[in-house]
């Protein structure tokens, strides 16, 4: 078997033991890698119905098919556990060296079971596993932890995935960082902390072989060259932050906790402004010829010296979404989040939620007491220092930060219970995961795409904003095409997330990002790597299967029809400014679109999956358990 070793490494933290599971080639043909394989490993190894913080919730790594080969942007792995934010599948992706080291150690996946009673650092040295004491690493930031570990081993090629102080403190949206990249969403950091797992390091010394290396090199060269052209220009020059001005113009830039879609000071928090005033260097993940990460630094003022990579989703969450027009405060907030290892998107929306609670008079100045401000402070929208302080308080779970660290869904429950308020109406989450940087009131296909999303409010899993923004659908209305559009966009994204390949490469195969442009090229890459004989339909099925396994996981964990919903605000509070003004997605519209979507997927009206459909997809055992 090329491209895979056929082996999954199991590690039990409770018993401190390890074993190897061998998987047949047919299993790989169904689950491939990335989010699909990680979700499948989670399906196989979780104690059904367990609390996300229970030892029965496994940490599941699944490597990528192209990791460790020259295929551009193929150095990625998937990570899955039951999410403490949503209670459903928490599947994330991260790029760079870690996946490559894992590939060279000849592991297709790693499943970590149980929980340790002492903080532990797992070291996977090719086939050998060591349980190392992690006490001296506690409190170190994500990057610092990685550096400390490499220093310990004296080997640059030892790559680590770690949690930072936010994860250690079990901030519910703590995440996992490797090589400056994050498996960012759904709260993996908190799951790791529940197991007292600080870091997983890998040293892989074996060479990677593929079925047809000369062909794979030729294909990779061509894509690498194409990736230096216009197809990736947006990512290379300004990075994704260039979306700020576009989103603002189109009226869906989250502003003051999604109250509006237009921010008066968008220029000041744009990718263009960042480029002119703060950019230090552009860097890449390992195995990536594009390089989109805009390393940005604050050069003067109270946050001078702060430096981190800035991207659109992080930037909007802490700037326009908090009404903050001070780029230096925004960079500082993202830096706090990155270094302490938490999801900047969930953090930003939790902060903006608190700011709205303050402006609406539910929370008072005295609720914001902390060591830095013993009398409390006034976190109005636009107050950059308040944003920075709240980020620190969440990281440390200090004062109100302890509540905000639970994410908006739980925080609203706590605050509403305490004050008799209705702040849940502006708790901007879907299934418990905070909403991304696209206000969906005037992106109606996307609103439904988010509602049915298996991991909650996520723009990476549903790509239905794309047809809405491009005008392929009328973003302000609904019609009978939307089920199909949302289902196909979600399955399209799932192909990339499963291989995984970074989606920024999607136009570089043939110049066209659509299925006809990309799937045959991706099939060629798969075949040259594995020696299989994949065609267009096989590639298309990757996405369908990936999405189905995650949905199946959710059904088994107790998913109900009413879980497919969007925040109250998007259904009831119209915006007042910009192209999106006056629009909401009504319950009727949402219901109508969701029914269309279930029908397109071939599911029942209740959103359950027929047995036969699962059998046809090669998932017989899943059909037995949850098929109807």
């Amino acid at each position: 078997m090329y491209g895979y070793s056929g082996k999954i490494l199991h590690i039990d933290l409770t018993e401190r033991k390890q074993w190897v599971e061998e998987k047949p080639e047919d299993w790989y043909k169904v689950y491939i890698g990335g989010v699909a394989m990680a979700s499948r490993l989670c399906w196989e190894n979780i104690e059904v119905g367990c609390d996300p913080y229970d030892p029965g919730n496994p940490v599941c790594f699944a490597n990528g098919i192209f990791a460790g080969t020259p295929v551009p942007v193929g150095g990625k792995y998937g990570l899955a556990s039951k999410s403490p934010l949503t209670g459903f599948i928490g599947d994330s992706l991260s790029g760079s060296w870690f996946s490559i080291a894992l590939k060279r150690a000849k592991w297709d996946g790693v499943v970590i079971h149980g929980a340790s009673d002492k903080w532990v650092h797992i070291f996977i040295d090719d086939e050998r596993v060591e349980f190392l004491n992690a006490d001296h690493l506690l409190g170190l930031g994500t990057h610092e932890t990685e550096e400390a570990i490499r220093e310990e081993f004296g080997d640059d090629q030892v790559r680590s995935a770690t949690i930072g102080p936010a994860g250690e403190n079990m901030v519910r949206y703590g995440n996992v960082t490797n090589d400056g990249r994050q498996a960012g969403r759904t709260g993996h950091g908190a799951v790791w902390a529940s197991k007292k797992l600080k870091a997983v390091s890998v040293r892989g010394t074996y060479g990677v072989t593929v079925a047809d290396p000369d062909k794979l090199l030729k294909l990779s060269f061509d894509i690498t060259e194409s990736a230096q052209g216009p197809h990736t220009e947006k990512y290379r020059i300004y990075g994704t932050s260039t979306n700020v001005l576009n989103a603002n113009k189109e009226g869906f830039l989250p502003t003051r906790n999604f109250q509006e879609g237009v921010f008066d000071f968008a220029e000041l928090v744009s990718g263009e402004y960042l480029d002119e005033h703060h950019k230090v260097k552009v860097i890449a993940c390992a195995q990536c010829p594009i390089a989109c990460e805009q390393m940005s630094m604050v050069k003067k003022g109270p946050y001078a010296g702060s430096m981190t990579g800035i991207e659109y989703e992080c930037l909007q969450a802490v700037s326009s979404n908090c009404g903050i027009d001070d780029m230096t405060a925004a960079i500082r907030m993202v830096e706090i989040s990155d270094k302490s290892g938490m999801d900047t998107m969930s953090m930003g929306v939790s902060i903006s939620y608190a700011m709205e609670c303050f402006e609406k008079g539910i929370l008072k100045k005295s609720d914001f007491k902390c060591k830095k401000y013993p009398e409390g402070f006034e976190p109005n929208f636009g107050n950059g220092e308040a944003g920075v302080t709240l980020a620190e308080m969440i990281r440390d779970k200090e004062g109100i930060g302890e509540i905000l660290a639970e994410g908006t869904r739980i925080a609203a429950k706590i605050i509403d219970k305490k004050y008799g308020s209705e702040s849940w109406k502006w708790a901007m989450n879907i299934k418990g995961l905070e909403c991304p940087g696209y206000d969906a009131r005037s992106l109606k296909t996307f609103a439904m795409g988010l509602a049915v999303g298996t991991r909650g409010g996520c723009h990476n899993r549903s790509a239905a904003y794309d047809p809405d923004i491009k005008g392929e659908t009328n973003r302000y209305t609904v019609d009978e095409t939307r089920g199909e559009v949302a289902a196909r966009s979600e399955e399209y994204a799932a192909v990339y997330d499963t291989l995984p390949l970074c989606k920024f490469i999607r136009r570089c195969f043939t110049g066209k990002a659509d299925r006809a442009g990309a799937w045959p090229a991706i099939a060629e890459l798969i075949n040259a790597t594995t020696g299989w004989n994949f065609g267009y339909d096989d590639v298309d099925l990757i996405g369908v299967r990936a999405h189905t396994i995650k949905k199946a996981f959710n059904i088994r964990e107790g998913w109900k029809r009413e879980d497919d919903d969007i925040p109250y605000r998007w259904k009831h509070d119209p915006m007042t400014k910009g192209p999106g003004a006056g629009h909401v997605v009504t319950d009727e519209e949402l219901d109508y679109m969701i029914q269309l979507y279930y029908k397109t997927k071939g599911w029942t009206e209740e959103g359950l999956i027929p047995k036969q459909l699962l059998v046809d997809l090669g998932m017989e055992d899943i059909a037995e358990e949850i098929g109807v």
């Binding site: 080969t69 020259p70 060296w97 990057h143 400056g180 690498t224 195995q287 010829p289």
Partner: protein, 170 residues
């Protein structure tokens, strides 16, 4: 950084342009071993800080210290090209050459017990493969003299801000 005393061509990396993608390591290890493995690459990327990134390969020093340090006369230097060559019959992987190299450009293969370093793909038809693949043109295969000349040209053009043929007339 330690100055090189080479008059020969060798592969250098511009840290301003290097993005740390490691594609040079992939192509190098594949060219030399048929497998993709950074441990077997003769050029190595270095990331000291989040933004301090470059790649390092043999700098073909004059009177190369590695050649002098070799206790078994396994290393020789080509007087025309400066390329260091190894006699696998003589090398026993003792690593004295590593001690002598100011650039960390040598590694020992623990399987073969041989020293490994860049030979500028002298046995490959179209020259150094890493230079060919580098997506950002951060790697170049030149002599120090050629690079100083290029820098002078660049400086003059920049300081005069004079339109050149290279610029798109539109």
């Amino acid at each position: 950084m330690v100055a090189s005393t080479s008059k020969y061509k060798y592969i250098v990396c511009d840290p301003e342009l290097c993005i740390g993608c490691q594609l040079c390591e992939y192509i190098c290890s594949y060219t030399k071993t048929g497998e993709f493995n950074s441990y077997r690459s003769r050029i190595r990327t270095v990331r000291v800080d989040e933004v301090l990134i470059t790649a390092v390969a043999c700098r073909t020093c004059e009177n190369a210290p590695c050649v002098i340090a070799c206790t078994r006369d396994a290393l020789t230097q080509d007087t025309e090209t400066g390329i260091i060559r190894i006699d696998p019959q003589k090398c026993d992987g003792c690593a004295w050459c590593i001690e002598a190299c100011d650039f960390g450009a040598i590694s020992i293969n623990h399987q073969t017990k041989l020293a490994e370093f860049c030979n500028q793909c002298e046995d490959v038809e179209d020259g150094p493969q890493c230079v060919k693949i580098c997506p950002k043109d951060a790697l170049e295969y030149t002599t120090p003299d050629q690079r100083s000349q290029r820098t002078r040209h660049k400086l003059v053009k920049q300081s005069l801000d004079f339109p050149t043929k290279a610029k798109d007339p539109r």
